[in-house]
Symmetry: C2
Subunit: 343 residues, 2 copies
């Protein structure tokens, strides 16, 4: 079974994924930030026990931080299965679907975070999947809910629906033309926020960004998604218009850039993370715009390579601990082994 990032979805020239996450808390316990270590352990164990007993998630992968080393946890974060916040918790556990599109995190900033990914632009599907999980968990667990405010959460910005919806977008040409900072300011006025590839506090790499809603209180899930969709459509239109212009006016230079990136990815013997992400970004652009043709249509999901070259995922594939240079060499090997053939 393919993981969600191993195939492309709709509007995949720009949209890598649609993501919905819901924040939920249990009435019985203090919010995570106020939980003593012992209580956190108790909350995690009790909640995981209830979920396991219900049998809903028998085919899911279960993890508990007490059994994982740092590298395993970081690798999960690199695959978007864990959040940055969870990564820094001492006590935590969770459930991950086989396709890795659904992740249930226990003892995140809120007691429960439900996260749902869909490849490409399909927020409806992402929302419905998260909502279905939420319904099941809601039957099982006693959520902290207020008739006036909605779901109660640690951070006031999440109160209400407890939902954040976000698109992961690939904006190589807006990025190359220094249009990202302006874009971030602009969409802020619509209650949205632009972040780096790994969300809050992360840097951008490979021209990949997350666009998500900032506010949830006073808006329904549908309103949040509609607003996000409208703005994202406009950003897509801007990126596409610029791409069209560049491909028209500088076709040969674009072809050269894309093929050079392919040549470097195929032959380099050391590739840094930044370098690899940039080269893969240019290759992804080339596939999207038809500048370069993959030999097999189904094998051009470049984003899976972007995940694969992250440091902890590379380390996991290796038997010994990799130094900086060894990591760059391992990265080049991974790319060579997984780079799609071209026509």
């Amino acid at each position: 079974m393919l993981r969600w990032f191993e195939h492309d979805g709709s509007n995949s020239d720009i949209i890598i994924s649609s993501r919905v996450r819901l924040a939920r808390n249990l009435k019985k316990y203090n919010f995570s930030l106020k939980l003593e270590e012992k209580e956190a352990r108790e909350m995690v164990d009790e909640t995981c026990g209830q979920i396991r007993e219900a049998g809903f998630f028998n085919d899911y992968h279960t993890y508990d931080f007490k059994d994982l080393d740092a590298c395993q946890k970081v690798a999960m974060k690199e695959r978007h299965v864990l959040s940055n916040f969870l990564l820094h918790q001492k006590t935590a556990a969770g459930f991950v679907s086989p396709e890795e599109n659904i992740s249930i995190m226990i003892n995140e900033e809120d007691h429960i975070r439900i996260q749902s990914y869909t490849a490409g632009m399909d927020m409806k599907a992402a929302y419905e999947a998260a909502d279905a999980i939420d319904d099941r968990l809601g039957d099982l667990l006693d959520y902290a809910y207020d008739d006036q405010y909605g779901y109660l959460t640690t951070c006031p910005s999440n109160v209400g629906t407890g939902m954040r919806a976000s698109y992961m977008v690939h904006l190589p040409i807006l990025s190359a033309n220094n249009r990202i900072a302006g874009l971030a300011t602009e969409i802020g006025r619509f209650g949205l926020v632009l972040r780096g590839i790994y969300g809050e506090g992360s840097k951008s790499m490979g021209d990949i960004y997350q666009i998500s809603n900032q506010v949830t209180l006073g808006l329904s899930e549908q309103e949040v998604i509609e607003n996000l969709n409208n703005i994202t459509q406009q950003i897509m239109a801007q990126e596409r218009a610029l791409r069209k212009q560049f491909v028209k006016q500088q076709k040969n230079s674009m072809l050269d850039m894309v093929y050079r990136s392919y040549g470097l990815l195929k032959y380099a013997r050391k590739v840094s993370l930044q370098d690899g992400m940039l080269l893969l970004s240019q290759l992804r652009l080339g596939f999207s715009e038809g500048l370069i043709q993959p030999a097999c249509e189904n094998e051009c999901a470049v984003y899976q390579l972007m995940i694969g070259i992250q440091p902890a995922n590379l380390q996991l594939m290796s038997e010994s601990e990799l130094s900086g240079e060894e990591l760059d060499m391992q990265r080049s090997r991974f790319i060579r082994d997984n780079l799609p053939a071209i026509l």
Copy 2:
């Protein structure tokens, strides 16, 4: 029949070719610089006629500038068949051997210039070939010769033997370490001179240089060659020591550089002359040092690619006149079509 630059010779890790040229003048005519146009035409026609009649050079290619366009002449210069000086003559003609190793130029700076190339380090062979041609021409033509001074030439620096011997050398590591300027100064003290790839007044490209003798008067051919050999051996030793050190201390970076160059050569869609020469220089270094293996040992004479990507040679292969960008695209196609496969 392979042309001399289509195969490698001895010490080919550094030495691309050994070249001898002899300057000769005819008693009957003023030196070239003092020849009126009409006399030049007469000298060229008479000399070429005598050479043709003798039948020595029946398998040689004959040319006369009155039948060549600028591009054809420049392309011959790029293949080292014509000198820079001849290129700018209005009236000139010549004979070129099938392997292009022997070139007899009529109405160069001197009436007759005999040039002999050998792949790799073999100045003896280059000299003997030039000397044999000189003997034949000497029987046929009435050379300007003085018992005290030797062969009389236009430029006093050529008086005596009229010989210049030069090695074309590939010095990528000395070059990358900014050691060329120092080297040029150093060898000047031994009566030698370091020049760019196309000799006098030309720039270096692809880390290729010519080392040749400056002075001929008062020295025998053997003394000139011995002096040149001694100094060249020292330069070879310096380049080799540095290569060895880099390959030992920075093996992975060297491998990466060489393979990246190969990837760019194989996939780029536009390649400038400077860029192409640099990438080919790195590939040549990679083959020489065994960092990268050609699939077929006989197909790794990178220098022929360096000649092939020169502008006029590319233009000659094309049916229409190429603009700057088209030339860079044509260059990338030529490289793709001729790049040796690797293991």
